[in-house]
């Protein structure tokens, strides 16, 4: 097994609203190895983004709170790290790209000042060196005439350009882990491909590990080594990218894959998963997916299955495969 970079175990992040406890992330286990790309897939509201915010320790300004679990990054537990140490990790070791490139740049600063902020905070470069570094980063993400763009304001750039700037900003301190929260969702399809290409290139050049959060299976297939499928705050399936596309196990994963149109196949209607994600406030008692599952059984309505191994590296949370589970030697 290669080196673990990040290991999350039993992470529980609850939101406290109106005296209610709402479990947004409810016991997530996942890991990322060095240089690996992990895709996290799931519908909106399944806890993907909250997981990433928990890693970054950015829940402070939301009603959310990590109530249990641990997040190990390299040699430290991020959840117990004091704020000033955490600040040194943010941007420097773990960087983040947000979904909305249009609003994630501060309108009052020039591009160069914004990218330079992280560089000066963490790498402690002087003005001249920072500028050179920023220009190099802009060139790396394929921005033409970087020397001029550096002095422009965000509103002068298009969405695709801004997302490139965000990537440059995130990569500017050579982080070991990049968290990309739906980096292409807000972009045109043609631009999406370019951005993904750039992210791939930058990642390869710098050897960065990546956690790609998305609901776009196409993006996942293109980019990721391993995939974690999340549903209602839990991991329901985890597998190698080929394994998952070839041999999906969990009914939810199957449903997701079936709801993607396929070229060439002259199929009838596009299948969809009936129903909606249950709201965290009123979760079903047994398996969280049971009310929407087409292969639902009696046991699913009363008991919640465990995440168990099916084959090497392939885990699934479903009673259907109870016989196939590799019994853990104890």
């Amino acid at each position: 097994m290669s080196n673990r970079l990040l290991e999350i175990s039993n992470l529980k992040t609850y939101f406290f609203v109106d005296n209610q406890q709402i479990p947004a992330v409810n016991g997530v286990d996942l890991f990322i190895n060095e240089g690996e790309t992990l895709g996290i897939v799931g519908e909106s509201g399944c806890g993907k983004s909250v997981t990433s915010l928990s890693i970054m320790g950015l829940l402070g300004h939301t009603p959310g709170k990590v109530v249990d679990g641990s997040i190990r990054f390299k040699d430290s537990d991020l959840l117990t790290l004091p704020e000033d140490k955490m600040r040194k990790i943010r941007g420097n070791e773990i960087a983040m790209i947000f979904q909305e490139p249009m609003t994630s740049l501060n309108p009052v600063y020039k591009i160069g000042q914004q990218i330079g902020e992280a560089v000066r905070l963490h790498l402690k470069y002087d003005k001249k060196k920072t500028r050179e570094h920023v220009i190099n980063m802009l060139k790396l993400v394929g921005i033409p005439r970087a020397e001029e763009i550096i002095d422009e304001f965000p509103h002068q750039l298009s969405g695709g350009m801004r997302q490139r700037v965000m990537i440059a900003m995130a990569m500017s301190c050579n982080p070991t882990l990049l968290i990309a929260d739906e980096p292409t969702t807000a972009l045109d399809v043609t631009i999406q491909a370019q951005i993904l290409e750039i992210m791939k290139k930058v990642k390869q050049e710098k050897g960065t590990a990546m956690m790609l959060i998305t609901h776009d299976l196409g993006v996942v297939a293109e980019m990721c080594d391993r995939i974690v499928v999340m549903y209602a705050g839990k991991v329901v399936e985890e597998a190698d990218v080929f394994e998952l596309f070839e041999n999906p196990k969990h009914p939810y994963t199957k449903g997701l894959l079936n709801s993607v149109p396929k070229l060439g196949l002259k199929s009838e209607r596009l299948t969809s998963i009936p129903g909606n994600v249950p709201t965290p406030a009123n979760m079903p008692k047994g398996c969280k997916f049971a009310p929407r599952c087409i292969e639902v059984m009696e046991i699913c309505k009363t008991e919640d299955p465990e995440l168990s191994q099916i084959s090497n590296g392939h885990q699934c949370r479903c009673f259907l495969y109870e016989d196939e589970f590799v019994k853990e030697a104890k």
Binding site: R87, S104, R145, D151, E152
Partner: protein, 299 residues
């Protein structure tokens, strides 16, 4: 062919770079379209020059009495007439400009600085700190402005310096509230989140990322507030709590002239007019600034 395209790109880039629309240029473009605000701005600029040159351009001394010319009406010698001690009112108004502008600017400056810091801290951190600051502001709001100022002067004693302090104190809560409300919305924006995600400290986020975006509402209120501050300071002087008699403060001049309101109305008319026009100019400028700085106003 490929070289050709690249060249074109560079050319386009240069042309664009020449007319880069910085936020300031954008503001200026909108502001200069507003005639009235521009006139107000020029007038205020003129007032500042008068305030700076004061004694050098005043035709007579502002304090030396001239018993030959008591309460004489406006004439070519005395453009605005003379007061009960024969002092040239026009000269006194010119020298009083300095006092009024100083009181207005300095008191609003203090309330803006303190109010902004309180508002930023209160909006950003929230919780008990926010509650405490806002409740104190509520208490200050509960007093009618002038009454609060009178109360503060009663504690500190009369005098122009104390007027500045009094007017400054009762401006603080409004600034704090304005800044707090913009802080509340700005701290939720993605760019603040992304600044946090690159490891910026709270102090850095507050002053480098949130403060600049609150600046436009601060500038607008600052300008409008100067008018009110000048008016309040003049009222306090009128009541005898601010500038003391020989001083050519406009409010004090009004107060000194009120005994002769029937026989020599010019003694109160001209200082009153100065206060009126000055306050009006600051308010109009504030209006113009708001229209130019508000991103929702489209031209």
């Amino acid at each position: 062919m490929k070289n050709g395209t690249v060249d074109l790109h560079i050319k386009d880039g240069r042309q664009e770079a020449e007319k880069v629309r910085t936020p300031f240029l954008e503001f200026w473009r909108k502001f200069k379209k507003q005639r009235i605000a521009m006139i107000a701005a020029f007038f205020i600029g003129f007032l500042f020059i008068v305030a700076l040159l004061g004694p050098f351009i005043a035709p007579y001394s502002a304090v030396e009495p001239d018993y030959e010319n008591i309460l004489s009406s406006p004439s070519m010698q005395h453009l605005a007439g003379t007061d009960a001690f024969g002092r040239d009112i026009f000269s006194r108004i010119i020298e009083g400009t300095r006092i009024s502008l100083f009181v207005g600017l300095s008191s609003v400056f203090f309330s803006a600085v303190l109010g902004t810091i309180l508002g930023l801290v209160s909006g950003y951190y929230g919780g008990w700190l926010d509650n405490m600051i806002m409740r104190i502001c509520d208490v200050l709001f509960a007093f009618p402005g002038i009454l609060l100022a009178i109360g503060i002067i009663a504690i500190l004693g009369p005098g122009l310096g104390n007027v500045v302090i009094a007017v400054a104190i009762f401006g603080i809560p409004t600034f704090a509230r304005i800044v707090r409300s913009s802080t509340l919305s700005i701290k939720e924006t993605l760019y603040v989140e992304s600044a946090r995600s690159v490891g910026a400290s709270a102090k850095r986020i507050i002053f480098k990322h949130i403060f600049p975006s609150t600046l436009s509402s601060i500038i607008v209120y600052f300008t409008m507030r100067i008018g009110t501050a000048i008016l309040t300071a003049a009222s306090l002087s009128f009541l005898g709590l601010g500038a003391q008699p020989p001083s050519p403060e406009w409010g004090a001049m009004l107060s000194a002239g009120r005994d002769f309101l029937n026989t020599a109305p010019h003694v109160t008319f001209f200082p009153g007019l100065s206060i009126f026009i000055t306050v009006l100019a600051f308010n109009l400028l504030g209006d113009g600034l708001r229209d130019a700085l508000d991103p929702k106003m489209k031209d």
